[in-house]
């Protein structure tokens, strides 16, 4: 017996190579805005949780400073995952299911521009056998893309169509840092930078933060005219070694989709955390999304991908379209780990 939990507030902040603000200065405005939207007092929110990664800031305990941005006095019930903040939202949802709390503030943040993030995130791999070879995130995504193309499930034009549509849709999103009114032919004429990928197929290095407030049942209804109800949420992980996986599909996305009740379709919008254009094709297939669902109207991660916040932003993008009345049912997906290793699926609906 699960409690109904709804997203009642969402704020995000993104930038390309921000030289002015630190992580805390990214967190403060999004937390303040989300708390304002929720209509709840900061300390009326029962639980606080964040997602971040120490290797983005280059030191231990990034989340400790981050707490200064969220406000924690008097002391708060608080936790942190070293994961994309979509998983922080999952832990918050679990906390509400126990009945101990009725609401939660979730935030994710990171400044990817402080480092060569594509290279540094190689350290997510097996430290004894893979990391010493230093395949960057782009190299690993390139392997996945090559496998996909060789399988015949997709061709270069399919990748270009994904990238072109994302960049075009990003022009309507003030938070996108890369946007362009472009078509697939134009992109195909541009150089292949990491075979078979072109720059437009690769997420732009993005700084940013995101905050969401969720609340249960009547608390949500009291504070939001049209909460985006979480009808299903689940996450699964695949094996780390890319040699033991079929890289042309995402078993963990499919399993999470099954458990979240996402496979019967009927979504008006899906925000997929596709950090490389082939990711979208693989995730779409795993979730059985067809032409009736509009994919990534925000421009997705190809428009802006602040690591540790970007998965949570997918949930916020869908929720805000539901709360505005634009759509009735949507799907959000978050991913982390090399080659789509770990995936979360969330089904959201209006009343």
């Amino acid at each position: 017996m699960t409690r109904d939990v709804g997203v009642i507030a969402f704020a995000q902040e993104t930038a390309e190579k921000d030289r002015e603000r630190n992580e805390v200065e990214f967190i403060i405005p999004v937390v303040q805005e989300a708390v304002r939207q929720s209509g709840m007092g900061r300390h009326d929110i029962g639980f606080t949780i964040s997602g971040s990664c120490d290797y983005l800031s280059g030191g231990p305990f990034t989340f400790v400073q981050g707490l200064d941005g969220a406000g924690a006095w008097p002391p708060v019930r608080e936790s942190h995952v070293e994961m994309d903040a979509a998983w922080a939202l999952y832990e918050a949802w679990v906390a509400i299911q126990t009945g101990e709390v009725d609401s939660a503030l979730i935030y994710g943040f990171g400044k990817s521009s402080l480092t060569d993030v594509h290279q540094v995130f190689t350290m997510q791999s097996d430290p004894y056998t893979v990391t010493p070879l230093w395949p960057s995130l782009i190299h690993l995504a390139g392997l996945q893309a090559s496998t996909l193309l060789e399988s015949g499930k997709a061709d270069e034009r399919d990748l270009a169509e994904v990238a072109a549509r994302s960049l075009r849709d990003a022009t309507g999103n003030p938070h996108a840092i890369r946007k362009e009114d472009v078509d697939a032919d134009t992109l195909l004429a541009r150089p292949v930078t990491h075979a078979p990928l072109r720059d437009a197929d690769i997420f732009p290095v993005t700084d940013g933060a995101c905050a969401i407030v969720i609340a249960a049942d009547d608390v949500a209804r009291e504070h939001c005219e049209r909460p985006a109800w979480i009808r299903g949420i689940d996450h699964r992980i695949d094996a780390p070694h890319i040699g033991v996986r079929d890289l042309t599909e995402s078993a963990s996305t499919r399993r999470a989709g099954e458990e979240a009740g996402a496979l019967q379709g009927g979504f008006e919008v899906a925000e997929l955390h596709a950090q490389f254009s082939p990711d979208e094709l693989i995730v779409r297939e795993a979730l059985g999304l067809n032409g009736d669902t509009r994919i990534n109207p925000s421009g997705g991660a190809l428009g802006a991908n602040p690591l540790m916040a970007a998965g949570l932003i997918r949930i916020g993008e869908v929720a805000s379209r539901i709360s505005s009345g634009e759509i009735g049912r949507g799907l959000a997906h978050a991913s982390q780990g090399p080659c789509l290793q770990q995936n979360l699926v969330c089904v959201l609906e209006g009343e």
Partner: protein, 389 residues
């Protein structure tokens, strides 16, 4: 405490040592996980979800190592969460695992916490400030020594109290085969004469750097009852709490933090405990530097403010005392940082299950597991009992 009744039915840990050169990180965590599963009479296939905790990724130089550990922990195709709440993480991780059961979402959850400190150097990994800023202290000891001096000046505690705590914990560790330090010849004088590192913290009053892991299997009421029927006593979770507060602001009491007081009050209230000193039979407390035992005795409400050190001097916290603290030898005897909090939670469970071996407190029915982290600002606690709540 709301939700589904939750029990610990399996506990595992590695033997904690300076450097496990014989295993990878995956090998290390798997040892603890397999031992916990065997204790629970289960296999990886029986597990619905896995929750992993560890301290900063800089300690091993692996970003989100749970990604790489997914198959070693039998998590492929399952939900896998990674918790990081500084030194309290082992405790927070156990609490997240408990919530997955309490919420009714999962029936059987494996939780694992670890640190393989030999992969890097924790003191220097903890010394880094923000990029382009200078750290004013070296390691955690340098950070906490001023708090301890403040405690001494407030309470008038004599200098030898820290020595007594260290001696007690290291002697207790001789009864724990998993403990890192087994110092058979330790004496009051040998602790007192050890090198002063961060005044007033001496070398022998400081936790070691350890490689180690700890794991537990948690299950729901039916699972707990089944374990009991099979002769494997469960430890019932009677309360869980965490609290956090900012690192620094003018007027913050870093010796007796509000977050710790609130967390203890919350967990005792959930467990129906009104007189912790008399109702708790064993405490596993996060004491990485000896003086934190009297400080936390006060912060948790076991001793009146200013009297914690008298409890130490009077032997209240000895294994034979009224409130045995850290019968396992505690963090002062084994410190795989990310696992240290979970070891406190697991050792508390072992006490009420009656499986603590030579360091078992006779007749322990109710125990507290405690962990703290950051600048004494993150707190995680649970109360476990032999009796179903």
């Amino acid at each position: 405490m709301g939700g589904v009744r939750t029990a610990v039915i399996g506990v595992g840990q590695t033997r904690h040592v300076s450097a496990r050169h014989d295993v990878s990180i995956a090998g290390l965590v798997r040892e603890a996980a397999v031992e916990a599963l065997e204790d629970a009479g289960m296999d990886f296939d029986d597990i619905d979800a896995v929750v992993v905790g560890k301290a900063p990724d800089t300690f091993e130089g692996v970003i989100m190592p749970e990604l790489y550990l997914a198959d070693a922990l039998g998590a492929v195709g399952k939900p896998l969460l990674r918790v990081h709440t500084a030194g309290s993480v082992g405790g927070s991780t156990a609490i997240v695992a408990a919530k997955l059961v309490m919420s009714g979402i999962h029936k059987r959850v494996l939780t694992v916490a670890f640190e393989k400190q030999s992969e890097s150097n924790a003191t220097w990994a903890l010394t880094v400030g923000g990029p382009h800023s200078t750290s004013l202290v070296v390691g955690a000891g340098g950070y906490f020594a001023p708090h301890i001096r403040s405690y001494m000046s407030r309470s008038g505690a004599p200098d030898h109290i820290g020595v007594l705590v260290a001696l007690k914990d290291r002697l207790n560790a001789l009864k724990n085969p998993y403990a890192h330090l087994h110092e058979e010849h330790i004496t009051f004088d040998s602790v007192k004469d050890s090198m002063m590192l961060w005044d007033p913290v001496r070398y022998s009053e400081t936790c070691p750097s350890s490689d180690g892991a700890c794991a537990m299997v948690l299950t729901n009421e039916a699972g707990g009852d089944a374990a009991a029927a099979a002769g494997r006593p469960p430890a019932w979770v009677k309360g869980t709490a965490f609290r956090s507060e900012p690192t620094m602001f003018a007027g913050r009491d870093q010796v007796n933090p509000q977050g710790g007081q609130d967390c203890a009050a919350d967990v005792f209230q959930q467990a129906g405990i009104t007189d912790p000193l008399h109702e708790i039979d064993a405490v596993e407390m996060y004491v990485p530097f000896s003086w934190f035992e009297p400080m936390w005795l006060e912060n948790l409400g076991f001793a009146p403010i200013g009297d914690g050190w008298k409890f130490v001097e009077d032997g209240v916290t000895q294994m034979t005392g009224e409130l045995p603290v850290n019968c396992s030898g505690g963090v002062l005897s084994s410190n795989p940082i990310g696992a240290s909090g979970m070891l406190r939670f697991a050792e508390a469970a072992m006490q009420v299950r009656g499986t603590a071996g030579e360091h078992q407190v006779d007749g322990a029915r109710t125990a507290l597991g405690h962990a703290y982290g950051g600048g004494s600002q993150f707190f995680a606690m649970w109360v476990v009992g032999a009796d179903k709540p």
